[in-house]
């Protein structure tokens, strides 16, 4: 069996498991699976920056959170349905990313990282402080689940799971198209050597800015799904701890492959769920995971798998 056939079979099996999830697991685990899918999309959006463009952002929760707030507020205060509130939330995330991109892309390396961190914390401060709009620390409870006028209510976990899956599949397909395009190839070029790209005549700023906005848009899709999933949004959604968490998802899975970060996200969500049954100190555990990954698998799970395959190929 060649590699392509193996991948095709793995893909079909994965799709079958995802589709059969409601029959395989009870309502609680279905909720957990929904959360995994949302964070997988969130991590893939950040991978566009870290893995493909080589831009390490530590403020990616800003676009996730701002979309959650926008959709939550529009649904709660103005009674907007999902058909308007979802694109509005994504648009707000994209606009925020465009504004932050204009500021952050003036810097490079760790300075870029610090600016993205600072900007996202400004948003966190606003969400925390502007009580009349955002509910401050209490957040916005009772955001209604979307209603598509279908016979199934999205208040139930099963229909909402399929809704999330459908949005995530379309988003993933779009992301795959982006990284397979000439634009995506140019992003890899920037990651590998920006000076060479400039010397070849690429206006690299334009590419980096577009990647930054795209990453913000897809983080926004994840943020909208998450506010519907939790029916709640609080400043925690924007906090740097969430940005660090999604960064770790990308690194654990293996940056630059889309699949890796999605896997990393699913594992972290699962792990958090298990750990939080025993201790409150999830962030401490997360920190230990971070250190271990950086020390022993700096290119993540997909990197380890690739190395094992190469070693096997070298033996035969």
């Amino acid at each position: 069996m060649n590699r392509q056939q193996q991948l095709a079979i793995a893909g079909i099996a994965g799709a079958a498991v995802l589709l059969a999830m409601p029959w395989l697991f009870g309502s609680y685990y279905l909720g957990l699976a929904t959360k995994m899918i949302i964070f997988a999309l969130f991590a893939m959006s950040l991978d566009l920056l870290i893995g493909y463009t080589g831009l390490a952002s530590l403020g990616h929760a800003a676009y996730f959170g701002v979309a959650s707030y926008a959709t939550g507020l529009l649904a709660l205060r103005l009674g907007w349905g999902v058909g308007w509130a979802l694109p509005a939330g994504v648009l707000v995330a994209g606009l925020t990313a465009a504004l932050f991109g204009l500021l952050a892309l003036r810097a490079r390396g760790s300075y870029f990282l610090m600016i993205t961190l600072a900007l996202s914390q400004v948003l966190w401060g606003i969400a925390f402080g502007w009580r009349s709009l955002t509910g401050g620390d209490d957040g916005l409870p009772e955001v209604p689940r979307p209603d598509l006028g279908l016979p199934w209510s999205f208040a139930d976990n099963t229909p909402f799971y399929y809704f999330t899956l459908a949005v995530a599949v379309v988003s993933t397909w779009l992301l795959m198209r982006v990284v397979a395009s000439p634009f995506g190839q140019s992003l890899r070029g920037i990651r590998e050597s920006e000076t060479r790209m400039l010397a070849l005549g690429y206006d690299t700023w334009r590419y980096k800015f577009a990647a930054f906005v795209l990453a913000g848009l897809f983080a926004g899709v994840a943020g909208v799904l998450y506010v519907y999933y939790n029916r709640f949004v609080s400043p925690d959604y924007i906090h740097v701890a969430r940005s660090a968490e999604v960064l770790l998802m990308v690194i654990l899975g293996g940056a630059g492959s889309l699949f890796g970060p999605a896997l990393g996200a699913a594992l972290i969500v699962l792990f958090e769920n298990i750990v939080s049954g025993y201790t409150e100190r999830w962030l401490l555990v997360l920190g230990v995971v971070y250190v271990l990954v950086t020390l022993f698998a700096p290119d993540g799970i997909t990197g380890v798998v690739r190395r094992l395959r190469q070693r096997k190929a070298g033996q035969t």
């Binding site: 395009s181 000439p182 140019s186 890899r188 060479r196 005549g201």
Partner: protein, 246 residues
Amino acid sequence: MSALVIEGLSRNFGGLRALSNVSFSVEAGERRLIIGPNGAGKTTLFNLLSGVFKASSGRISLFGRDVTGLSMHERARMGLARTFQITNLFPRLSVMDNLLIALQAGAPGAFSLTRRMRDQTVLHAQADALLNQWGLASIAMRAAREISYGEQRQVDLILAMAMQPRVLLLDEPMAGLSAAEVVRVTGMIRSLPREMTILLIEHDMDVAFELADRIAVLHQGCLIAEGDGPTIRAHPQVSEIYLGVE
């Protein structure tokens, strides 16, 4: 017509004057060698010409157009290509992808999100042709960081050639190459269209003097001599500081 006119070009790094009031012009189609001892300002000159650094003062014109204020990629779009003294490829991408990126820079749809890279058949054909032409087809799918140093230097040169530039800056293309590789790279440079203007920094004097129409000598950031091979060899100050007094 002059391809390149440099007038009073200077660049300071803090208190260090890396390049000091350098003026010369290069005719279209000329092969110009730049020599000088280490630290003479040769690479600084290339970095100013290609736009890596801004000039502290002075003016650079490319085919009659003032490019002093233009950024690196704008100069590249005007037909100015360069290679790098320290190999500058896309290390984790395949040699093929390295070439595709270089070829795509001037192709329509470089910014496209909707096309697929694998459908860019014209670019793939061009990349194949270049690799076959230079006998590098066997390493097309290897990552650029995994091929030999000599191969990397050749790919670096091919990336610049792929842009089909009007002016090409070559920063020590022979440095560190074996004798056989020097012959190959010399052949590559000789094969370039005669109308292409080439500026070459090189320490291998035998090869370089043979390739060059004219030579400019830099010393401590200043242009101290300019002329054809025999003139430069006979220049007393050049012999003293660079070629060694006989």
